[in-house]
């Protein structure tokens, strides 16, 4: 560093002698200075273009689809039978299937994730925390197809031995495994929120004679509530968009059922099912991918906005 500084000092002394050379070099540099910001801006605009691309493709194809299938039939129809005549495109069975998976997943992930977050942030000794945290995060990095295999080969047999009426494909197994997948999401985001609660609040409570659980549940959790709720909403949204686990383990029967042991079909699983078959471009089935995809996109988009809003709007500032 220092020698560089000296060098440039030397150069400054010699500068008048080699003016032309320096001018040339500076001009070249100034071209870079003019061109690079534009190139970099173009890189950044790829992300905007992706969003526009998603919205435009979904909108145009969905519009085509709604020309043949009335939008009200799609949104409020209770029968989804796109491949076998009489064809019917009511999205409610797919929505209810998705909702069931998501609710089961959140019933698994939110309590476990939150309890893990409380343990890691309030109870665990530093050493334990250093080991457990990365292990939980490994869960988030495992490919979903692997979870799908786990659901089929491990969870489903257990469920079948408890409830003999359960089929090979059932919503419960897929829901539990989706839940396991999103545990780290809930736990790490909640823990981040909890560890940003200032130490002084905890110390104050301890000084008043509070026990650890009182500090955790009555001081830290309320103070970090916005972050915790946001993490739950994000996890919910992630569960809605999950594809391979439900494709493999939940089956492909669009059912409006309240029984988690039944086989169901989610929106994502339907999209995969149609694209696996060779559906010609321009048919109603092809359009239905985009209509379902649009529904999926809108729901997850709104949930993500909601999570950001909750995290910002209700944050306690200290």
């Amino acid at each position: 560093m220092q020698s560089e500084a000296l060098q440039s000092n030397d150069n400054a002394k010699n500068a008048p002698v080699k003016v032309d050379a320096y001018k040339f070099k500076n001009e070249r540099v100034s071209i870079m200075n003019k061109v690079m910001p534009i190139l970099l801006f173009l890189c950044a605009s790829v992300s905007i273009m992706t969003t526009i691309g998603i919205v435009v493709t979904l909108l145009t194809e969905t519009y085509q689809f709604f020309k043949t299938i009335p939008i009200l039939d799609f949104l409020f129809g209770t029968k989804w039978s796109p491949l076998i005549p009489p064809k019917s495109f009511g999205v409610l069975p797919l929505l209810s299937g998705t909702l069931m998976i998501t609710v089961i997943a959140c019933l698994v992930a939110v309590p476990i994730g939150l309890a893990s977050a409380i343990y890691l942030s309030e109870y665990a000794p530093k050493k334990v925390r250093k080991v457990i945290k990365p292990i939980l995060e490994v869960l988030a990095g495992i490919p979903t197809i692997v979870y799908g295999y786990f659901a089929l080969s491990f969870i489903t047999p257990i469920i079948q031995s408890i409830f003999p009426s359960a089929g090979i494909f059932n919503a419960l197994s897929a829901g539990i495994v989706v839940g396991i997948m999103i545990i780290p999401m809930v736990s790490s985001l909640s823990e981040d929120a909890m560890s940003s609660v200032p130490r002084s609040l905890r110390d104050g409570a301890y000084a008043l004679g509070a026990t650890r659980f009182e500090v955790a549940l009555k001081i830290v959790v309320p103070a970090a509530l916005s972050g915790i709720v946001a993490s739950a909403v994000l996890a919910f949204s992630r569960a809605i968009g999950e594809t391979m686990i439900v494709t493999l383990a939940a089956g492909s029967t669009p059912n409006m059922t309240a029984n988690p042991l039944d086989s169901i079909q989610t929106m994502t699983a339907y999209i995969v099912q149609v694209s696996l078959g060779d559906t010609p471009h321009g048919t109603v089935e092809y359009g239905s991918i985009f209509a379902v995809g649009m529904t999926l996109f809108v729901i997850t988009f709104l949930l993500n906005i909601l999570a950001q809003y909750v995290a910002r709007r209700f944050r306690e500032e200290y």
């Binding site: 560093m1 560089e4 500084a5 440039s8 540099v29 870079m32 200075n33 910001p37 970099l40 173009l42 890189c43 950044a44 605009s45 790829v46 992300s47 905007i48 969003t51 998603i54 979904l58 194809e61 309590p111 476990i112 309890a115 893990s116 343990y119 109870y123 665990a124 292990i135 939980l136 990095g141 495992i142 490919p143 979903t144 197809i145 692997v146 979870y147 295999y149 786990f150 089929l152 080969s153 491990f154 736990s187 659980f213 994000l234 949204s237 809605i240 968009g241 594809t243 391979m244 493999l248 994502t268 999209i271 995969v272 694209s275 985009f290 995809g293 999926l296 996109f297 997850t300 950001q308």
Partner: protein
Amino acid sequence: MNIFHDANRKQIAGRRRTDWLLHILFVTATSIGVIALCALLIDILLDGVTRLQPDLFTNFPSRKADGSGMKSALVGTIYMLLIMAPVSFIFGVGAAIYLEEYAGKNRFTRIIQLNISTLAGVPSIVYGILGLALFVRLLALDKSLIAGALTMTLLVLPIIIVSAQEAIRSVPKSRRDASFALGATKWQTVSRSVMPSAIPGILTGVILAMSRAIGETAPLVMIGALTYVAYLPEGLKDSFTVVPIQVYNWLSKPQVEFQELAASGIIVLLALLLLMNFSAILLRNKYQKNV
């Protein structure tokens, strides 16, 4: 007086007991996640270890489980990574440099930033739909390697941008000031002072994004990565398959032998992921001290 005292004592003992019970409850809940991970790994290892033979790497998939391999899938995954890595690196890091070093604090920058965090939350299958409409149909790339790689590039871009931004942001301002003080221009400062110290962090992010990409199945199923490929792709426009899709293909067959093959395919996939994550951690640890 004494009565109050006793009541107090009882109350305190009760609260202590609750504390203890909840402690156990929290530990149990935390261990569920760990146990699930162990169960998953053990389950897969037990199922797949018998089929983990050289055939798996040297043979093409076939109708019979015996001697069936996933050579084409492994090669497809590697080719896809080779295309994705440079493309997503250039665009991702470019976007991050723009946002951190060049962008003014205006409405447009905020929109880009918000947009990136929203894109990170879009389900992967939606990217598959985009890839199907944009690359496969509109640009007529068909169900090709390049269409798959570009789709996955769009999918991992938000992850790369966010991690590269963090790496660039963690370069101390004093480095930039020193560079400017020596008369460097903006671009010289960015390319020769900021980037060298940010690059380990950026590479870590890129490797992690790549490891996300090799596990993704849904978007590639959407764009029609074939499930039965008995040849190696030779050009960008050749059809291809990747490891997770090969696993999916085996999983959808009812025979036990194919389920075992799927499990051994998963072992290979997980080993690949482990390798990538491990190298990312090594990279981070090696350079963290020097910054």
